[in-house]
Structure formats: C-alpha cells, structure tokens
Amino acid sequence: MNWRRLWAIMLKELRQMRRDRVTLAMIVGVPVMQLILFGYAINFNLRGLDAGIADQAHTSGSRALVMDMLATGVVKPVLVADTPQQLMDAMRRGRISVGIVVPPDFERRRSEGRQVAQVLVDGSDTVVQAAAAQLAQVPVQRALPDARAPMRSTPRAGPIDVVSFYNPQRITAVNIVPGLIGLILTMTMVMCTSIAIVRERERGNMELLIATPLTRSELMIGKVLPYAVIGLVQTTMVLLLGVWLFHVPVRGSVLDVYVAAALLILANLALGLMISTKAQSQFQSMQMTIFILLPSILLSGFVFPFAGMPLVAQWLAEVLPLTHFLRLIRGVMLRGAGLAEMWIEVLVLIAFIVGMMAVAIMRFRKRLD
C-alpha cells in the first residue's frame, strides 16, 4: 500500500464530489427529507388527532375521564357537542377523526362495571384506529374493571394501562430516528460506491487507471474512505435533527453511536463496491442497489419487528448489515447499552466489511478482459 497513491485517489474523489452539486445536495438533502418525512409525518398522525367530545354526564368523574384521555396527547379537542349524533355528523364531514361520548348515566354504569364511555373512530385510517385504541385503554379512576368502550373494530383488550419502557409518550420518532440513521446510510452509501467503479469504466477513466502502477487495494480503499466521511456527516445531521426536533434520547455514549455508524457505513460502502465490480453499467448498479435496499428496509427490523418474521426471512435479515446496526443503535441510543455488551453484532459487521472488501478487491482485475 502506497500512501501517496491512496491519498491521490481520495483527493481525486473528493474533488469530483465537490463539483458534483446534485450528488452533494442529495447527500445532505436525503437525510433531512427522510428524517422530516418519517419523523414528523408519522409522529403527527399519531398525536393530536382532531377530536369531538360529548360529555352528557357532566359529573366530576366524567370530566376526569375526558381529561385523562386528552392528557395522552393522542387527541386534541376541537369540538364540544351535546349528542353523539353531532359527533357522527362532524366525523362524516371530516372535521374530527375521533369522538368521545360519555353517556348521561356514566356514574351508574361505572358503579355497575359496565361500559362507561364510547370512542368513535374514523376507521378509514388504520393509523387513527390504532391511535384511538390507546384511548380505549385509559384507566377509569376509582372504577371497577372493564371501563373500555370500544367500537367493534377496536381490539378487545381490558382497560390496561400500556406501559412502554423506552417510549412512554409513544413518540414514533424515538423508534424511527435511530433506525433512520441506518436506513439513510444504507441508501446513500451503497449507491455512492456501487456506481464508483462502473462510472469510471463508462467514462473511460478505468483504462487510464489500470495502466498505471495503482494497486487494486489502493484504488478500492481510496474510493471507500472519502464516502465514509460523508456518511459520518450524515449521521451527525440525523442525530442533531433527531435530538433537536424530536428529543430523541442518546442514552448510551455518543462515541458508541459513531462507532456503530462507522461500521455500517464501511459495510455498505464495501457492499456497493462489490456491486460495482459486478455491474456493467451505472443503470445495472442502480438496480442492484435497489435489490439490496428493499430487503434492508423490510427485513432489518426497521419496519416490522424482527421477532415476528418467518424463520427464512430472519436468516435473510441476518445477512444484511442494517439488521445488525439496528440492534446496536437501538441498544446504544434507547437502552443505554454499550457496544461491548453487543459484541456479536459488532463482530458480524466487521466480518462483513472485511469479506466484502476482499471480494471486491479480488473481483477487480487490472485487465480489460
């Protein structure tokens, strides 16, 4: 390994990157857009649903129940009605998506242990439905059990207070942001290197490069490292925005977050490079990137819980770097764990990086045939 040649490649990549305004904008734009899309959009759907309230009992108990429901933050009152009929009209017009009805005989129902209130849900939006299910689980103070008042489509669970250790306010962003770091890094990093070799081949630069004393490892490593810096910049951006906009906690050490991110970045860059040695055109490498990206999003545990997936899907997921990163980052950021406690995941990622780099370097030939 000749350091001067390695640096020459890195400098060249950085200079080219600087001139490629669109890519540069994407590198900054993608994380911000993703964070805001995933973080805000999902978060706001789950909280602050427009609600109408028809408290026909007007007792201190009924008012307390309504206040409890409002206190969850899931709904925000926009309409006070006298009858359930008015609520249903408002819902049909789309003014409210949730209606809370407390019947006049609230106190008697409570003492008899019957349903004390009814939550009307706009079932056309499943997210709203799921959110409203939370309301149905608000406990009724000093009351006998079974104080729920669900519509048919809401789950038939008892009046159980849902206890969430790491996300008591049920803010989706807290779960999403650490995963989002991984998703963004997977999307942008694989893309960056997957076109790296193929682009030079298409532009004709490769014939020049392979006719020089550059070694394969110099070329490959020199192409990876500049993008690793970009990846760390993206990580920082998502972290800062996550903390600032969504108050995502970083319970473990920040260093651990960066080490985990660096591992994922290198794993993805190495994977991209491997794709690049295989692809014949930039278009092909894009397709292959998407081929990797989809299972990463769906199987890694970012969208669906890992444990709920069929065994085969779990095996597949174990091959994806994002799966291991998600375990690391959620552990570090949300549970305050240290990387040492999750050494297996760290080891898997390191093995992935070394393996992919080796395959990429071996697959790359300083020959045209």
């Binding site: 040649r5 640096w7 490649i9 060249k12 014939e207 006719a211 020089t212 004393p213 550059l214 045209l368």
Partner: protein, 323 residues
C-alpha cells in the same frame, strides 16, 4: 562485450511473436510479429477494426494474449505487466482523464499515481503546463476543453513520469490539422529525448511521418519497414492517368487483369498494378482507346496509400486462397 541477447534487448523496445487474440471465437489479432527499435516513432497503420487497439492493449498488459509471446523493455508481458506500468505511458484512444478535474488537478493526480518524486512534482507540472501551453488554463476543467487541447493534456499526462516507452492509440483522430501538426512536433521532441513511441493511426499523412511503420489489416501484419522501404518496394507498380472523364476511365478499367486498384484523386486516377504484371502502361492505354476515351497515362511515384492498398489486397488474396 555484451552478449547478443542483452544487446538485443537494449536496442529493441518491443518484441512480439505469434501474437494472437480471440474475441468470442473470432481471431482479432492474427499472429503478429513485431520488432520495435528504441528511440523511434513507430507507426501502426490500419483501418478501423484492424486490431491496432487490441494489439497495443496486449503490449501494455491490459489484455491477455490468447497466444504468442511479448517482451516489452526486457519484461515478459503479461506476467511482468505490473513492473512495466511505471516505465510506460499510455494515451488511450478515448479521452480518459477526469473531465471534472482541472488541468492541474489531473496532472497532480497522475504525478502522485505514477510516483513522480514529491519534491519534483510541482516543478514537473509547471514545466508541462509551460511546454504544453496550458499557462492560462490550469484551472479549467478538462471536460470543457477542445479536442486538440484535450489531446495535448492527455499527452502531457502520459509523459508526466518521463516513461521510456509511450503508447499512443489514435491520438489525433478527433483533432484539427493544425493541432495535429503541433502534436506531432511534440512526439518528435519526445523521440529526440530518447523515448520510444508506438503510435497507431488510420491516416496516411501521419504514417508518413513515422520512422518505421507496420501495416495491420484484419488483425494481420501485412507489411512493415520504413516508409521509404515500403514505397520503394512498389516501384513501377503505380500509374497516374490524367483525363477529363475520370469516372468513365475508371469504369473502363474495372476488373482488368493486372490492375489491383483504381482510385480517383481529383481529375486524375491512381492505378495500382498487380505484382509481376507486364506492359501494363501499354495495355491500359489500349483499353482506354478501345473505350473511346482520351487519357494520358504516366508512371507515378508510389506513396503510402499505394502501399496500404497493395498490402491489404495481398491480404485479401491470401484469405481467398485459404478459403
């Protein structure tokens, strides 16, 4: 006293024997034997698809030969290709520098990659920028330059580490005549300074400038020698016909035995005669009279185009015989 072997490798830059390359079952380079002496501009003349690029790529170790042996600067290729890299410069047919880097950035990159000593890099780049007249364009992006400027930059980049041997694959195919003359000046300067150059071209006037020449056709080496040797070998086989009706005369001579080719050049026709054909001037005059046309037939001095036509005709005849 040197042994015969080491004297040889001291004077010979490139030697190939029985060099072949198949692509998908098609023989693209067919048993090429080359001997390129040092400090010369050696031309590779041939039409597109003759196998010039393929041969050059095999010589610098970028393609693996299907058959045959190569020795370049005393190194066995492709086995010792890596050792060769720092001693050769290669200017690709297509512009292969980075279009999104500036002139100076491109040169800086190649200086580092080619191992120009760090202390010398800046001086060397300044020198090239001066020599190749990029003084006012150092910061211009390579992609925004004209064809001639790009070629000049590519040449500067290819010689940045002062290689002993320079491969140039159709370096001037996309360049205006003035830039071409300018470019060739540079090539001769390099040869004078001791560099061996292998230049492929499909242009006759460029081929004429070379010290020695190899003509490739359909992957086969059909002739080689100095331009003078090659044209002298055709002495007596070329005629020029001055006539007011060149196309009709050409028609009259078509298919005539002993005539290998008739090409119109302005108002005259150039005739290449078959090897060993006798009394052709008289027979052609008779044929023209018979066709009721008027023309003046005279002997002409053979040029490289005649050499090229004669060599490729011979190749065709060989192939026909073989088939």
């Amino acid at each position: 006293m040197n042994t015969a072997d080491s004297t040889d490798s001291g004077d010979i830059a490139i030697r190939s024997q029985g060099l072949c390359k198949h692509f998908g079952g098609v023989l693209r380079v067919d048993h090429v034997d080359l001997l390129v002496p040092v400090r010369q501009v050696y031309g590779f003349l041939g039409p597109n698809g003759a196998g010039k690029s393929t041969t050059i790529r095999m010589l610098c170790g970028l393609l693996t030969p299907s058959e045959g042996e190569i020795e370049v600067l005393g190194l066995k290729i492709p086995e010792q290709a890596e050792a060769l890299r720092s001693r050769i410069g290669y200017m690709t047919q297509r512009f292969s520098l980075f279009e999104d880097l500036s002139v100076r950035e491109n040169l800086e990159f190649l200086a580092a990659v080619q191992g120009v000593p760090k202390a010398r890099t800046k001086a060397r780049i300044d020198e090239l920028i001066e020599d190749y007249r990029f003084g006012d364009r150092q910061k211009q992006l390579a992609g925004t330059m004209s064809g001639g400027q790009k070629q000049r930059l590519a040449l500067a980049a290819a010689v940045i580490h002062e290689p002993q041997l320079l491969f140039l694959d159709e370096p001037t195919s996309a360049v205006d005549p003035e830039s071409r003359r300018d470019f060739w000046e540079k090539l001769f300067e390099l040869a004078d300074a001791g560099t061996t150059l292998l230049v492929s071209t499909h242009m006759m006037d460029e081929a004429e400038r070379c010290h020695r020449l190899a003509i490739l056709d359909n992957g086969r080496l059909v002739a080689d020698g100095t331009p003078a040797e090659l044209t002298d070998a055709l002495q007596g086989r070329t005629l020029v016909i001055d006539t007011a009706t060149p196309r009709r005369v050409q028609h009259a001579l078509a298919g005539m035995p002993g005539v290998d080719g008739v090409a119109q050049v302005g108002n005259s026709l150039r005739v290449l005669l078959a090897e060993g054909a006798r009394d052709m001037q008289a027979r052609i005059e008779a044929a023209i009279v018979q066709a009721n046309l008027q023309a003046r037939v005279a002997e002409a001095r053979p040029n490289l185009e005649d050499v090229f036509v004669a060599a490729t005709r011979a190749g065709e005849a060989d192939r026909k015989r073989a088939a």
